[in-house]
């Protein structure tokens, strides 16, 4: 029971990571830096909790904020690079943070941070103080894990909602315009640098929050939780789920996280299956599982087709 709750919780955190990459991709930028921002968020949250005794509801947003603050100058410097060059530069950022975390005393070096206050344990202690026994016939530990899942799901839901709302606004149109044709976007009066850095910092914030949550979910974080493979994993969520709708990376995260849990028994075989699936996906359905066209089709079928703001004078010439 607790195992499934934990898997579901990590699916939510992975969903947030997928969304963090999606945000940057929605301005046409390919980043591998979000693993680094996740590291920043994780260590920041962990250290604030261990050293300064900050409560978890403060350490997690603080981790996200620090990541976003670092992202602004990094984005301003690197976002003039395109495609694979940006990916390489941001991967360099991630890897150098891993090296730094491996070598600083305050981060615990290669051993990482131990004894990070655990969200489920904290909740359990709090609940024992106010409840005689857990509701729903659960044990107190299970109930605490359920609450952790609900908190993680709420964070994912909030991130998703914010991205969807933003996507339908002036800012979202600017993102899409930049992704489709940066030159045309700038000729239409869009400050492309501003919006690219904005998306980069927003993605960093989400990755930082996910890192902070990770830290408080696992007791322990180490530098190697946030390296190359993590950076690629996040990208895979988006590639598999779909790059053009925010539901894509969430679905991708859920499927791949569940699959990797399911294949846990298979040990090394798991990585082969994982890799093969990736190749299949890129070859057979490069746009990802979910596309905007599918959503439009479902909406039409449900009779929620797009409304015309004002009927025009016929179909034009």
């Amino acid at each position: 029971m607790s195992y499934y709750l934990q898997v579901a919780t990590f699916i939510c955190i992975s969903g947030i990571l997928g969304l963090s990459v999606y945000l940057v991709l929605s301005t046409g930028q390919l980043t591998l830096g979000n693993a680094g921002f996740m590291l920043l968020g994780g260590y920041t949250a962990g250290l604030l909790a261990i050293r300064l005794g900050w409560p978890i509801w403060l350490t997690v947003p603080a981790g996200g904020l620090l990541a976003a603050v670092v992202a602004v100058p990094l984005g301003a410097a690197t976002l003039r690079l395109r495609g694979v060059y940006l990916a390489i530069a941001t991967l360099g950022f991630t890897q150098s943070l891993v090296v730094i975390a491996n070598n600083l005393t305050i981060t615990g070096g290669a051993l990482g941070l131990k004894d990070i206050p655990n969200l489920a344990a904290r909740l359990q202690r709090f609940l024992r103080g106010v409840l005689a026994e857990a509701p729903l016939g659960l044990t107190m530990a299970q109930f605490a894990n359920l609450l952790v899942l609900l908190i993680s799901a709420a964070l994912l839901g909030l991130a998703y909602w914010l991205i969807v709302r933003q996507g339908k606004s002036r800012v979202g149109r600017a993102f899409t315009a930049i992704r489709t044709d940066e030159v045309a976007a700038s000729a239409m009066g869009i400050n492309t640098t501003y919006y690219k850095v904005l998306a980069f910092a927003q993605g960093a914030f989400l990755a930082g929050v996910a890192g902070g949550m990770m830290a408080h979910l696992t007791y322990f974080i180490g530098p190697n939780d946030f390296g190359f493979s993590r950076a690629v994993e996040m990208l895979v969520f988006v590639v598999v789920g779909g790059t053009a709708v925010p539901a894509g990376p969430v679905l991708g995260a859920a499927l791949l996280r569940a699959l990797s849990e399911y294949l846990r028994e298979a040990k090394d075989l798991r990585l082969i299956v994982y890799g093969g699936l990736m190749m299949l996906m890129v070859l057979v359905r490069p746009q990802g599982l979910l596309t905007p066209g599918m959503f439009a089709g479902w909406r039409r079928r449900l009779g929620l087709g797009p409304r015309r703001p004002a009927p025009g004078k016929g179909a034009g010439a």
Partner: protein, 258 residues
């Protein structure tokens, strides 16, 4: 009357080649000004220099009395200059309406928080922008195509959608790069009507065009480029009989007696 756009000594070199060499133009408010010339004469480069997509090697560009050299393209657009592209550059996956809404971007204010929270003022701004965008689609005859993806529109409609998108930035000067390219006769007649309507709205028009019929019937004044240099300027009637222009287009008639 002082010129809306004053270009002086505009030069752009690519390596050893001067794609645009010492071009000077003065475009008065309210006129339709044509920029013509054989293929490769430097017309589009000239446009890119004027609208800030390319930095000039030398020369000045003043718009409404202010220099625009060195400004990012979005700033030039902010100041009131808008353009279309020779090789149509619409946002293909967006609908026609959304394309025009992107054009309104520069005149709207909603930021991240306003857009997410949708405050009353943002909602008012957004619905006013939609109304204006629909009005512009109507102007270019695309009101019925508002919800169709831009990439799926026929060529002539895409050209007109680009004009609507540029108008949405509320320009004083509209720069059109070969708006009639690929249009048949009736389409280009409609286009001329549209450009005249745009001028009636108080927008000055600078256009590059190959279709001489369009240029001669539409433009108040015309400048002719050849190999990056301005070789003539005047009314369409003057240009048509200018020997330098005739030579540039038809070549020298060596056999003729002078």
């Amino acid at each position: 009357m002082s010129a809306l756009l004053r270009v002086q000594g505009l030069t752009r070199r690519f390596g050893g080649l001067a794609a645009v060499a010492d071009v000077s133009l003065a475009i008065e408010p309210g006129e339709i000004f044509g920029l013509i010339g054989p293929n490769g004469a430097g017309k589009t480069t000239c446009f890119n220099l004027i609208t800030g997509l390319l930095p000039p090697s030398a020369g000045s560009v003043e718009f409404a009395g202010r220099s625009v050299v060195g400004l990012a393209p979005y700033r030039v657009t902010e100041m009131g200059m808008a353009r279309t592209f020779q090789n149509i550059r619409l946002f293909g996956e967006m609908t026609a309406l959304e394309n025009v809404l992107v054009g309104t971007h520069v005149r709207l204010r909603a930021g991240v928080f306003g857009g997410i929270i949708r405050t009353p003022s943002v909602r008012r701004e957004e619905s006013a922008a939609r109304e204006r965008a629909m009005g512009l689609l109507d102007l270019v005859g695309l009101a019925g195509a508002a919800d169709l993806p831009a990439a799926g529109l026929p060529y002539g409609r895409q050209r007109r959608l680009e004009i609507a998108r540029a108008l949405a930035t509320e320009p004083q000067l509209l720069c059109l790069d070969e708006p009639a390219a690929g249009m048949n006769e009736s389409e280009s007649r409609e286009l001329m009507d549209l450009i005249r309507k745009i001028r009636e709205r108080g927008v000055t028009v600078l256009l590059i065009e190959h279709d001489m019929h369009v240029v001669m019937n539409l433009c108040d004044r015309v400048a002719v480029l050849n190999f990056g240099q301005k070789i003539a300027e005047g009314t369409p009637a003057q240009i048509q009989v200018d020997p330098a222009v005739i030579e540039a287009y038809l070549g020298r008639d060596d056999g003729a007696a002078d």
